[in-house]
């Protein structure tokens, strides 16, 4: 395994987009740990919501080693630009779309997403900080850090294919048990793939799959 080359991203870019940090690297570690599971799903379509630097989708596409359609959305135009470059820097063709969450894609990707990736803005902040198009959008999560997460959760059952898997990053303050019970009502089961403490944050990578799939 190799961490994607991000040497092309300048410090001035990190004024505008989220710089990969512990949460990003824990996400990569979790995907690597699960790579055989994901490969065995024989995914065709991957979707990342809020791809930032693009490091996660790049890593997954590289590690899978087989072609996939990797659509990466972000609400921050700089992030979509950098996402594309990070893919190219690593020989991967990512397909960025500048949009809010999955707007414009939800209809056609319905039941078509095999791997859904989401490293949300999970930091607990005042609600007023949520909803920007700049770098704040990468971390400001509002109340319980859940305000953007709670807009994504209802989309998950619609987007995922029969075999589809959903990975997301959370911190303890996001109340993972509550997230679990929300998706359980739509027929999903949750596994905590990895957890790690990083400074004040207790990070986990959650994996959701359909209960009725095997």
């Amino acid at each position: 395994m190799s961490t994607p080359d991000i040497s092309h991203i300048k410090s001035s870019d990190y004024q505008l987009i989220y710089e990969p940090a512990e949460d990003s690297f824990l996400f990569l570690d979790a995907l690597l740990q699960d790579i055989n599971f994901i490969r065995n799903l024989r995914p065709v379509t991957c979707l990342e919501i809020g791809s930032g630097s693009g490091i996660v989708s790049t890593f997954l596409a590289k590690e899978l080693g087989c072609p996939v359609l990797s659509i990466c959305t972000d609400i921050n135009p700089h992030a979509t630009e950098v996402t594309k470059k990070t893919g190219l820097q690593n020989g991967i063709s990512l397909e960025p779309v500048l949009t809010d969450l999955v707007n414009g894609l939800g209809e056609r990707l319905k039941s078509n997403v095999d791997v859904l990736l989401f490293n949300p803005p999970y930091v607990v902040t005042p609600s007023e900080e949520v909803g920007s198009h700049g770098i704040e959008a990468s971390w400001a999560g509002g109340k319980c850090g859940r305000e953007v997460i709670d807009r994504v959760l209802p989309l998950v059952p619609n987007l995922l294919s029969k075999i589809g898997v959903f990975y997301m990053v959370v911190i303890k303050e996001n109340r993972p048990d509550e997230i679990c019970s929300i998706l359980m009502k739509s027929g999903f089961t949750m596994v905590t793939v990895l957890s790690r403490r990083s400074g004040p944050e207790f990070l986990s990578i959650l994996r959701f799959t359909r209960v009725d799939y095997r």
């Binding site: 072609p67 500048l98 414009g104 056609r108």
Partner: protein, 124 residues
């Protein structure tokens, strides 16, 4: 933006637009990039494609002759068909241009290969 990705975009996020598909393409810069042909991947992608929308998209960018009007029977074994589909889906990229909502005429810019689907508050 590959035509594969274009096939997944709709404009029914605009208030009052019901289907918003397929989006028209007005291209000012197109690129063709060679991508390794993987027949298995293309064959598994075909069922997810709206073929008539792909055909229209190909026509919009001046490549309509490069794929047949319909998916051929037993395409899984038809390498010639899969190669054509691969070319149009994976190798033709809209770098600069606009996507046009078929109902409202609203244009979504494509810049540096990235479609901008963001709407103004009064459009939602």
């Amino acid at each position: 933006m590959k035509l594969l990705t274009h096939n997944m975009l709709t404009s029914n996020i605009i208030k009052g637009v019901t289907k918003g598909f397929p989006l028209g393409i007005q291209v000012s810069k197109l690129e063709e990039k060679s991508v390794d042909f993987n027949p298995d991947f293309v064959a598994r992608m075909i069922p997810k494609i709206d073929w008539s929308a792909l055909k229209q998209a190909a026509s919009d960018v001046g490549k309509g002759d490069e794929i047949p009007a319909d998916i051929v029977p037993q395409y899984e074994q038809n390498e010639d068909f899969l190669k054509k589909a691969h070319h149009v889906l994976m190798e033709i990229e809209v770098i600069e241009g606009e996507l046009v909502c078929p109902e409202s005429g609203r244009k979504f810019p494509v810049s540096n290969g990235i479609p901008n689907m963001l709407l103004n508050e009064d459009e939602v």
